[in-house]
Assembly symmetry: C2
Homo-oligomer: 501 residues x 2
């Protein structure tokens, strides 16, 4: 019996490894498209991506996979058990969708993304609206086929955050709103007094790049297993744990853009580089969810990269890199500049606090779109009304309003809330690491991060997708996702910055 | 009936398009590996490549492909007929090889390539020899399975040059030897008097790159559908006609390296960019054989790029780019420098004439290896003996001898002779273009190439793989491959350079 089971397990692993190889190849095609591909390559690339998607889906959902899954029953607590459990979950989810629908979603969103670029450039909602309608029809169909207990949105959310539910996300936002909205009002009453000014000026691209590389090298990013390139939208991508790449964009007039996105993407990369190498080419390889992934990127970006401790070591170095622009700016002024709390129209430029309201707005709107209680036609007005309500700002046009993000054009319904899940978890993990290693702040003041990284490696990174997000959070922190530490952190940090009671 | 046939044809095309997409994806993986991939990515990349190879092979050789091929019978003279003919040929060849053997060859050569790099660095034949033995065993097995009339080498040659035979290649070399060997002896009797000196000196990398880019832009290379990167071994690769890339390596001390390899690779690229776009994702997409491909690269490298006409326009520009190094070198001295005829040990540094003897040597040795009349153990001595016989030079060690080329490590037995086929065809095509457009030389003297390119587009490029190489050569020049124009060209050019009778 044992031998037969092992054989089935090996065959299952081989099969899933090939599915994984196809996904890695597709990721490389995506990376190339965003970094180096000439314009003429687009049509061919869309076909190559669609073909790899379709074949991967067919291979995963083949009856043979189901048969092998049925014949493999190692104990759930073992690595093998965890692998089979995750594989079965992926298989069952995938088999609910016909390959034709998967291919149609890929095709429709590939076209929609191109139209969205044009619509945003022209600030013309009417160009994009019919494509969004098509995507919503397909996504609603997918949600029905995927099935759900309470709400169709749950079926989509599951694709990015296994185990998450709309109702729990709503509860999380309710808790956050209670703490965040009063904080924003209190700070807004003071005005920001042009605190952000030091971040604007002349910052050479090569110098920005070199400084960013030096910092993420100190974080622990392994350049033998990664590289950094330029792209319009920064991202992190991997083709297995041996090749985890980040991209950055540079703004010569605004220091914050490349600086914090480099820290952010390296946080994603440290996660992927830290996964147990034995999980390569298995369903356990790679981060367990987008929310947990975002917790890692936010942790390095904000809890490390926007902290006084960090800059007490790095600010003199940064001044050395940009002596003309920063020599008259002291460390505390710089710290205030990178922590301005001020409602804005653009999500990717938002501060740590108001960022969550940008996400709440998108979450509520996409739930309404999926359940069809909001029409595509009415979306821009609904967007602007919520911007006014939550952030007290009014977009001048749709380009800086409803058309600002790529996600819906890419069909990523259910993705947005994982950003706020990540924010909440980043503090929960960080505080747990501090409890285990109280010397972490002292290390940070010396530009050292080994204790922090080793705690993350041990409690988060190495496990890859062995645990579902909830299990991992329990495992690492002894309780479920918890908004209290996050709210305390925000109140303490911004209260101190603005001398609030 | 018609409708049913069309349906089968459409289904066949869809199937073959997916096979093509997998091949394009694999090509991108290869490109990335040679240009940007971090060292840590190698193990994962080898698996991804092997998986794409295997799935592509399984898809092509699936019974469904055979069934569709049987039910499609458009006329042979039509594009559809040509497509089915080429598809059937690819299918029949592929079905003779089991997927396991295809995967094993990929795996074995991936490992062997890595060992070869080390063996060459250490000049240690014993490291590489056992891997070459393994490859030969697999290649001989493949040759037997592929089947042949006269010689197992024919089965392998067919993979790179459809329709070619060992016996015809031997006849070609016999004709060439009769013309080339006396020419080499006559020139060698004079000595080269350090004619190559002007190519050595300080040549900035950025300047070399800019000059090369400007020239290939003039040739007609379309940067909207391509790009240039750096790699250890220059190559051209494409992922459809909309994305045809070249790579280059730069030597700051030797101008010839990047200059001529850029011209060479752009010749390959012009071919691929010129294929009828309607052939994209079909078996007719891409060049018809390696020999015809090499004819295009050699044409732009040698017949254009090493000609007086070309440099009468470009040499003043090159002097402007490198005023310090070249101001004292006149145009004729430079022309002599880039056309030094002198036997050397390294193929990729060889001149136009002796290059063919490097190929002859490799061709004879690989035929002997495949038929097992030469053992791997005896190969280094056999190599050195032939170097002495054909080129009167003696490699100091195996690194500059039998270990210099990557081809055998990659399992490319049957590939080498296509280089000389390309040399011969380059002149045959060029002379035909001159007959059709006698103004080509006048254009070249002005840095214009539109007539030459349009003749190549019309007679070679656009057809992609619609015709087999022999058919294409007949179609374009009215006769089969012909060594006479090539030998006349060499005798005339080098006879004039060396004032021979």
């Amino acid at each position: 019996m044992m031998e037969e089971r092992e054989t089935a397990y090996e065959r299952l692993k081989d099969r899933l490894a090939a599915v994984r190889d196809l996904r890695s190849a597709r990721s490389l095609l995506f990376w190339d498209q965003q970094t180096y591909m000439p314009a003429g390559g687009l049509a061919g690339r869309a076909e190559q991506m669609a073909t790899l998607s379709r074949i991967g889906h067919e291979m995963l959902t083949d009856a043979e996979t189901g048969m092998l899954l049925d014949s493999s029953w190692p104990e759930q607590s073992s690595e093998e058990g965890a692998l089979v459990r995750r594989a079965r979950r992926d298989y069952e989810r995938a088999t609910k969708l016909p390959s034709s629908l998967v291919a149609q979603i890929t095709r429709t969103t590939t076209i929609a993304e191109r139209v969205w670029v044009e619509a945003r450039a022209k600030s013309d909602w009417s160009l994009f609206a019919p494509h969004l309608s098509q995507i919503l029809t397909l996504k609603r169909e997918a949600a029905e086929l995927l099935d759900y207990d309470d709400h169709p949105y749950d079926a989509l959310l599951e694709g990015y955050e296994p185990g998450a539910k709309k109702a729990r996300i709503e509860a999380m936002f309710e808790e956050l709103k209670k703490g965040i909205v009063p904080l924003i009002r209190a700070v807004a009453a003071q005005g920001d007094g042009n605190r952000a000014t030091p971040l604007y000026g002349a910052f050479g691209e090569a110098e920005q790049e070199e400084f960013g590389r030096a910092v993420v090298t100190d974080f622990g990013y392994d350049w033998e297993r990664g590289r950094q390139d330029r792209s319009v939208h920064p991202f992190c991508i991997n083709f297995g744990p041996g090749d985890v790449r980040i991209t950055t964009r540079f703004n010569k007039g605004w220091l914050a853009s490349a600086l914090f996105s480099t820290f952010h993407e390296s946080g994603h990369a440290l996660y992927e580089q830290g996964v147990n190498p034995a999980y390569a080419r298995t369903p356990l390889g790679g981060g367990t969810s987008m929310g947990v992934h975002e917790s890692q990127s936010r942790l390095w970006e904000n809890l490390v990269g926007r902290s006084r401790m960090f800059w007490s070591h790095y600010y003199p170095k940064l001044q050395g890199v940009f002596p003309e622009t920063l020599s008259g700016v002291d460390s505390e002024t710089f710290y205030e500049a990178i922590n301005v709390l001020s409602p804005s129209k653009i999500r990717v430029e938002a501060d740590e606090v108001t960022y969550n309201l940008h996400i709440l707005l998108r979450f509520e709107l996409e739930v309404a779109l999926i359940e069809d209680s909001l029409s595509v036609e009415d979306l821009p007005d609904a967007w602007n009304a919520k911007m006014e309500e939550y952030l007290c700002v009014a977009p001048k046009n749709d380009a800086e309003g409803v058309l600002q993000d790529i996600h819906w054009a890419d069909g990523l319904f259910g993705y947005f809330p994982t950003y706020t899940v990540g924010n909440v978890l980043s503090v929960q993990f960080f505080e747990e690491a501090l409890k285990a290693h109280p010397e972490i702040p002292t290390q940070m003041e010396k530009g050292e991060f080994s204790l922090l990284l080793s705690w993350l490696r041990e409690n988060v990174h190495q496990h890859g997708s062995r645990y579902y997000p909830d299990e991992l959070v329990w495992h690492a922190t002894g309780r479920p996702l918890d908004t209290i530490p996050y709210l305390s952190y925000l109140k303490s940090k911004f209260g101190e910055l603005h001398s609030l009671a």
